[in-house]
């Protein structure tokens, strides 16, 4: 057993292993207040919820309080490891400033009230609007952090009960493109990869995915392969010099907004060199000819010009990818939150299809999620989809869902795609949405162009309900605030990127009068009097386990089949991958084996969209294109970004996540070790750009775009020239101003980002704004940015980021035969 500072060393001690071997087990734990394992009253099974990796862990409870966490050695995802956010983040649960009573706005002020009053206000306003205008007035904006049971119940209430089309989650900002790209290529959501592909791959390509910071434990797995015999080659596409870039065999740092150009060039090379599995393409894909024609116009020389990456480097990357024997690809926000996101992500799928690298060990695609339960938002129909991957434009699917819910098909809105988040805010802005219920998310910090979003949320004509655990920037604007229970205080399941379903059990009681989200939803449905066709209550369950059983019914025969799972089966062991049913009682590690897709016209989830215009394909068009249900190779032309640098705004601004914080810092900034590691917003710039302007490390800069201004201290990092980077988590709840900038300059990166989204996935674009910088003050010391991550300084004299005594966590190397606990 050893104790290490996991702030200073986020990935922990190396446990090297070779291709095809089992990843060694290492159990990480952290207990507060000098407690040891002997002091713990009980351990309660759960999984991580401050990122999307889905690491299995146990919650330590002493005197009915959470006092720590320990990784689950038996878990298939993490083999016992935990990341810094998991080790320290749970402390936020115990914060003294948790919401413990409902709040209601009286004479302009939020005041404490009781649940009855709060819920009657919510239900009363909803009823009034349903009478006046109908379901088009009502909207729900949910999250990527609730549990499956809660999403499914919300989807049922909204789609099947109220009949509104306006339901989406903040997963729109993080994972909508993952879903869209999978639907374009395979006509269905669901990840074709498994995390064990890391154990087998000889090439790992990370596209706009700073895995070292977003999924630290998964990155440990890659680091362990890199430290072992016959390590894989790593290809990294990222404009920043991230830890991934530093570990890469080939690193391409394209100009922001040019990902599709680069991808087209990679495919151009792969096809030109005939690194194509012609037999696979012939048997299992449509659209090859169109792809060949399209990428013909994108030789590396053209891409080199547009992306500002040497043509030779593009060729080298194409060679590594094109000659891989077991290729694992992973994609995240560098692609998803950038220009032409779906088109670029689809090209990653295309590489796997043309190379026949699907459904075999080491041959995975992970169109990643940014949030822990994002996959469930998509599965359960709480974002822009219908539950269990039913196709909104297939009448038979709607009819089938109506049967499951015992409602009339006409009562389930399916006249057009469900309204996406950005459009919901647009409808609220122009006044046709007049009720918005926000859960566990913080649009007043996370959406683009914050000035505009604050205006929309603060309108008198909009009735805003916020359900959360803290008084966030958004909650401060609400008409009613509902205090919620969170992870560790309620039971439910959730699913990670490689389709692993985990059970997370209640460990302690929520504080004060806070309630589980599921209870709040069910209470709302009953008070609203939502009934099925036979006059019975629409929501027929009252506990998480009953909701899970209801969900299982809904998934029968669909791709995400959960019918073989149960709470009991998930208890005690590890997570289980769906589909899990009679045929696959222990779950399914790899889907799309032997080119068997879920893309048949009558079965598929989606017919796809035009990648540039976003226009949906009709059932007839899809049937004509893909009658046999094969994979679809979809090509797209490069279109320049919508905001380009100019004389007034010469830089390109990109934003991103940090290793130490998660979604608007509501939890992570309340964990002392995490907060100390990255206490303030910073701005990154390359050494050359800084030198040209005479800036030095730590100078206070103003970063501005046509939409706003932000103040931040300069970190001179390995970012590409011409680009500035701001971490996007910093808002105002822990600043004097509380919910918005006090003066003319803010600190939230999204004061600056433009309102624009990908037409196919509707995911907002946070990574191509044109920006100007100027110095406000000379440095009085280095910038507070972490030195361990993408913001590593390239200049001398910056003290390293450490956590000290308070951050010492335990690591225990467990030999496989020594057994898992």
């Amino acid at each position: 057993m050893r104790r290490t500072d996991r702030i200073a060393d986020p990935w922990g001690t190396r446990t090297p292993y070779g291709p095809g071997e089992d990843w060694p087990t290492r159990v990480d734990s952290y207990l507060a207040d000098g407690l040891t394992e002997d002091d713990v009253d009980r351990w309660v099974q759960s999984a991580t919820i401050l990122h999307s990796n889905g690491d299995g862990l146990d919650i330590a409870v002493k005197d009915d309080r959470i006092v720590g966490v320990r990784g689950r050695a038996v878990d298939r995802v993490n083999h016992g490891r935990l990341g810094p956010k998991d080790l320290y983040g749970w402390q936020a649960n115990n914060s003294p400033d948790r919401l413990t009573k409902p709040l209601i706005r009286r004479d302009g002020e939020l005041v404490e009230t009781d649940w009855d009053t709060a819920m009657e206000a919510v239900v009363g306003r909803a009823k009034q609007l349903l009478d006046e205008q109908g379901p088009s007035a009502i909207s729900f904006y949910t999250t990527g952090q609730l549990f499956l049971e809660e999403y499914y119940t919300l989807g049922l209430i909204a789609h099947g009960g109220i009949g509104t089309n306006h339901v989406d989650g903040n997963t729109r900002l993080c994972t909508a493109t993952a879903a869209a790209a999978l639907k374009e290529s395979f006509a269905s959501d669901g990840q074709p990869g498994s995390y064990t592909d890391i154990d087998h791959a000889d090439v790992i390509a990370l596209y706009g995915h700073n895995m070292a910071e977003t999924q630290t434990v998964l990155w440990s797995r890659i680091l362990d392969r890199l430290a072992g015999p016959t390590p894989p080659a790593v290809v990294c596409i990222d404009p920043r010099e991230t830890p991934v870039a530093r570990a890469a065999t080939v690193h391409l740092a394209p100009r922001p907004g040019t990902n599709l150009m680069l991808m087209n060039a990679l495919l151009h090379e792969i096809i030109a060199n005939d690194w194509v599995d012609a037999g696979y393409v012939e048997a299992h894909a449509v659209g090859y000819e169109e792809l060949v024609n399209r990428v013909q116009n994108y030789p590396p020389e053209v891409a080199a010009e547009v992306c500002d990456v040497p043509a030779e480097r593009i060729r080298e990357a194409a060679r590594v990818i094109g000659t891989a024997e077991r290729l694992l690809s992973s994609v995240l926000q560098g692609f998803y939150q950038s220009h032409q996101s779906t088109a670029a992500a689809v090209q990653v799928n295309n590489i796997h299809i043309v190379r026949g690298m699907l459904g075999k060990p080491g041959c995975g695609i992970l169109q990643m999620n940014g949030q822990p339960t994002a996959q469930n938002t998509r599965e359960a129909g709480a974002d822009g989809d219908l539950p269990a991957f039913r196709n909104w434009s297939n009448d038979e699917h709607v009819k089938d869902l109506a049967r499951v819910w015992n409602v009339d098909p006409m009562d389930i809105p399916h006249y057009s795609p469900p309204t996406h988040a950005m459009q919901m805010f647009r409808y609220a802005e122009e006044g046709s949405i007049r009720f918005m219920w926000v859960q566990a998310t913080n649009p007043a910090v996370s959406l683009p162009e914050l000035g505009r979003i604050r205006d929309v949320l603060a309108q008198d004509r909009l009735f805003l309900v916020v359900q959360d655990i803290f008084l966030s920037e958004t909650a401060q604007l609400a008409d009613v605030v509902l205090p919620a229970a969170t992870w560790g205080e309620k039971t439910g399941t959730f699913t990670n990127v490689d389709r692993t379903v985990h059970l997370s059990e209640k460990a302690v009681e929520p504080p004060g009068e806070a309630k589980p989200d599921l209870e709040i939803f069910i209470d709302f449905a009953h008070r609203l009097g939502l009934k099925d066709k036979d006059g019975q209550p629409l929501v027929k369950w009252s506990t998480p386990e009953e909701a899970f059983e209801g969900w299982k019914d809904c998934t029968r025969g669909r791709p995400c089949d959960y019918t073989g799972l149960s709470y009991d089966k998930l208890r005690g062991g590890s997570g289980i991958q769906w589909p899990c049913n009679e045929e696959h009682p222990d779950g399914t590690e790899r889907i799309y084996v032997d080119g068997q897709f879920w893309a048949a016209p009558g079965y598929c989830e989606n017919y796809g969209r035009d990648l540039v215009t976003g226009a949906p394909l009709s059932p007839t068009e899809y049937k004509a294109m893909n009658p046999g249900g094969k994979a679809v190779l979809k090509a797209a032309e490069y279109v320049p970004p919508h905001e380009l640098p100019s004389q007034d705004f010469p830089f390109q601004l990109i934003t991103g996540r940090t290793l130490y914080h998660f979604h608007t810092r509501t939890k992570t900034a309340r964990a002392p070790q995490l907060q100390k590691a990255a206490p303030e917003v910073w701005v990154e710039m390359s050494a050359g750009d800084a030198a040209d302007r005479g800036f030095t490390e730590g100078d206070l800069l103003e970063i501005s775009t046509p939409r706003g201004r932000v103040e931040a201290k300069l970190r001179i990092s390995g970012i590409r020239p011409g680009v500035v980077f701001l971490p996007f988590h910093y808002g105002y709840w822990d600043a004097p101003e509380g919910r918005e900038p006090a003066g003319k300059r803010g600190r939230a990166a999204n004061e600056l980002t433009l309102t624009d989204w990908d037409a196919a996935s509707k995911q907002p674009i946070f990574k191509t704004a044109a920006a100007a910088v100027k110095r406000l003050e000379k440095a009085d010391g280095p910038s507070p940015a972490p030195t361990t991550t993408g913001s590593r300084p390239v200049t001398e004299g910056v003290p390293p980021t450490t956590g000290g005594e308070a951050a010492l966590a335990t690591e225990e190397l467990v030999s496989v035969s020594g057994g898992a606990r």
Partner: protein, 160 residues
């Protein structure tokens, strides 16, 4: 040979379509997807205008290769006005009207490409046929965009 007429007519209608898309974009600046996508796909029509002017020379036509521009000041005023208007009133009906207009214009242009392709085939004008084969799919995508967007926007406008 009346192919000249068909080229001339397409040159006119593509120019018109590009202008209509740009004007629509400016009128709906607060509807961000409309604003950006209409501009992106107006570029296709502008590209078609140049290509038609180019190939027109072989048929003795002297067509302007520069797509008709949009006077910048007017454009900015329109954007500013729509930005302000779009955030306070309900411009939904105007949006539906504009989408119907684009749908009709683009459908007409699509029909003209059909005609040109038929003529080019008959006259064995390979390059002209290739041009039609390159451009026509983009026109069809413009049609589908207007149709899809109309379908998506109509309900909220009409029921609220």
């Amino acid at each position: 040979m009346k192919l000249r007429l068909a080229i001339e007519e397409l040159h006119r209608s593509e120019n018109h379509l590009a202008g209509a898309l740009l004007a629509m974009s400016d009128r709906h600046k607060a509807d961000h997807e409309i604003f950006h996508v209409a501009r992106d796909i107006a570029r296709w029509s502008q590209d078609h205008v140049r290509a038609l002017a180019d190939i027109g020379q072989e048929f003795g036509l002297d067509l302007d290769p520069e797509p008709e521009g949009d006077p910048t000041i007017l454009e900015k005023t329109r954007q500013k006005a729509s930005d302000l208007m779009g955030r306070s009133s309900a411009p939904g009906l105007l949006l539906l009207a504009d989408l119907r207009h684009i749908y009709r214009e683009a459908s007409g242009t699509s029909l003209d490409w059909e005609l040109l392709a038929q003529g080019a085939q008959g006259a064995r004008k390979k390059e002209l046929l290739e041009l039609a084969q390159r451009c026509h799919p983009q026109t069809l995508r413009q049609v589908r965009w207007a149709n899809g967007k109309l379908k998506e926007s109509a309900t909220q406008v009409l029921v609220s």
